[in-house]
């Protein structure tokens, strides 16, 4: 003890608020009159103040309990709890069902059907296109055939006409040649006849 005053322990009790209330006024009067106790009190207060510069830390993880068999609830409490739990469970299931129905993605079967329909449409369109193209090609071929046939017929007609013209021209030419040959033969004969009469 650094103080030799006989009230040292009571002074420390006073410093830590452990002195009975009835004794406090007397101690306060003593402190005012005793410099040694006043200095001791001052040092105690400084020391505790220094200690308190290290503050409490926050707990890094909260502590909580969920259940324990030590405290079994009463049967009524259990019934109420189970009833509420049942209602809550039913409510949760209903909510889950509604949510599922409202937010369910397109059923797979439906997707498959949609997918199959899509395939049919594509095939049908492709088939129709193919048929259309085929018909167009056939029409084109038919038109070409008709055009070719017409062209051939026209060419034949033209050929026959030209052939007839040529034949006529040839007949006329032949007739002309024959006439020329006849004329020449007549001239030749006429020229040979005077010579024969003069040589006799």
């Amino acid at each position: 003890m650094s103080t030799t005053c006989g009230k040292a322990e009571a002074l420390r009790d006073y410093a830590f608020d452990e002195l009975p209330a009835i004794d406090r006024p007397e101690m306060e009067r003593h402190i005012g009159a005793c410099p040694e106790c006043a200095a001791e009190l001052d040092q105690l207060r400084l020391t505790t103040a220094a200690l308190r510069i290290l503050p409490d830390r926050e707990i890094p993880q909260r502590i909580a309990f969920v259940s324990d068999k030590v405290f079994e609830p009463s049967p009524i409490a259990r019934f109420l709890h189970s009833a509420w739990a049942g209602l809550a469970s039913a409510g949760l299931m209903a909510a889950a069902l509604i949510f599922t129905v409202l937010h369910q993605p397109a059923p797979q079967v439906r997707t498959i059907i949609q997918s199959a329909s899509g395939t049919d449409v594509t095939q049908q369109v492709t088939k129709q296109i193919d048929e259309a193209v085929s018909r167009a090609v056939q029409q084109a071929h038919a038109q070409d055939a008709e055009l070719t046939k017409a062209s051939l017929a026209e060419a034949e007609t033209r050929h026959q006409r030209e052939h007839r013209v040529l034949m006529v021209e040839m007949e006329q030419s032949l007739e002309y040649i024959q006439k020329r040959l006849g004329t020449m033969t007549s001239l030749t004969s006429s020229m040979e006849a005077p010579q024969n009469r003069g040589g006799q």
Partner: protein, 184 residues
């Protein structure tokens, strides 16, 4: 403190009737104090958290044995004290807890690093009983009779430990604190 005690008494009665939420509320009111008490004893945040959980579990299991709800604080810290010393004995069965010290802590805003180091060093120079007496009185604010209940010692022993500890520390800390370095 009076309101706190009244609310604690109400919560304790509810817990004794099986209200778990009341106990969780009670835990939330005391967990920081218990954790810091254990942290100042063990210097280990991990050990202190584990011990805190064990303390509240034991409190939960035994709270129906608590007759005087006004003594909940000392009763709870008695459990914490026993859990801490059980750990110390497990860790150091021969040497006890003499080597346990006070971890370096962040000082309060405005306090100088020198004073923080001086305080930690002064606490570490105390023996475990003296240190625990300082922790319970200065940091936790228990009365002597409550400390006696927690530590299982007579009040006279508690006072002796505390005042001896303060006598040792004031030589260093009072001048440092009086130098205007960050207290009051």
């Amino acid at each position: 403190m009076i309101f706190r005690a009244v609310e604690d008494a109400d919560l304790i009665l509810r817990v004794q009737k099986g209200d778990i939420e009341a106990f969780n509320h009670l835990v939330s009111r005391w967990e920081k104090r218990v954790y810091n008490y254990l942290l100042r004893l063990t210097s280990s945040p991990e050990d202190s958290l584990d011990l805190s959980q064990d303390v509240f579990l034991k409190a939960y299991q035994n709270i129906r044995k608590l007759d005087d709800t006004a003594r909940f604080g000392p009763w709870l810290f008695r459990i914490a004290h026993n859990e801490a010393y059980s750990l110390f004995r497990k860790r150091k069965p021969e040497s006890g807890i003499d080597e346990c010290g006070v971890a370096e802590r962040e000082a309060a805003p405005g306090a100088s690093p020198e004073l923080r180091i001086a305080v930690s060093a002064a606490l570490n120079r105390l023996n475990p009983e003296q240190r625990e007496a300082v922790v319970l009185k200065v940091y936790q604010g228990f009365k002597f009779d409550e400390m006696a209940e927690i530590l299982g010692c007579p009040v006279s022993t508690i006072k002796s430990r505390l005042y001896t500890a303060l006598e040792l520390m004031k030589v260093e800390l009072a001048p440092a604190a009086n130098g205007g370095r960050g207290i009051r």
